[in-house]
């Protein structure tokens, strides 16, 4: 039983790691601001969820898990709001997305 829980939590953690790394790679490599926001916000929400679930499995049912899920709810509330505000500010400031493909 213990190994199963460890395995599942390790699975979640590695998924979280994968999402985070791809998000970070995306933030570096994408051509312009709007695509980067796309990459960063994915890694923000889903990667956090995977990490929190992975850690929660490790710590069983106690105050620590409650705090972990509080963090998750907070990040899920503030992350997208911040990205929305960011994109809207950039848009009103007149930042145009890169449309034609630079060869």
């Amino acid at each position: 039983m213990q190994i199963a829980v460890d395995l599942v939590s390790w699975l979640f953690l590695s998924m979280g790691m994968f999402l985070g790394l791809t998000g970070a790679y995306g933030i570096l490599k994408f051509p312009d601001f709007y695509t980067r926001v796309h990459a960063a916000s994915i890694s923000d929400t889903l990667c956090t969820a995977c990490f929190v679930i992975g850690l929660a499995l490790q710590s069983g049912f106690n105050l620590v898990t409650a705090k972990l899920f509080m963090i998750l709810i907070l990040l899920w509330l503030t992350g997208p709001a911040a990205s929305h505000a960011l994109v809207r500010a950039a848009n009103t400031a007149g930042l145009k997305p890169v449309t034609e493909k630079k060869d």
């Binding site: 956090t48 710590s59 503030t78």
Partner: protein, 90 residues
Amino acid sequence: MFATAAAALLVIMCLALVRAFRGPKIYDRILAVNMFGTKTVLLIAVYGFMTGRPEFLDLGIFYALINFVGVIAALKFIERLDEYDEQEER
């Protein structure tokens, strides 16, 4: 297991840092700071588990809060700053 998670988070933070240094526009830097903040929250959680003492998670809650308010403050003040720059150019 936690060590690899911590290492991965550190790598992500380094990549976000590179974007913060290079970011041509202000908005890229704010995006990098936002991502950096959320990853720090996760690093605290993982570090707590790594050292076997995970009850310092209210630090994580606080970092998420500070990160959000920092991003909102930056956006609000840029908005006013662009307006003044335009006034100055006019």
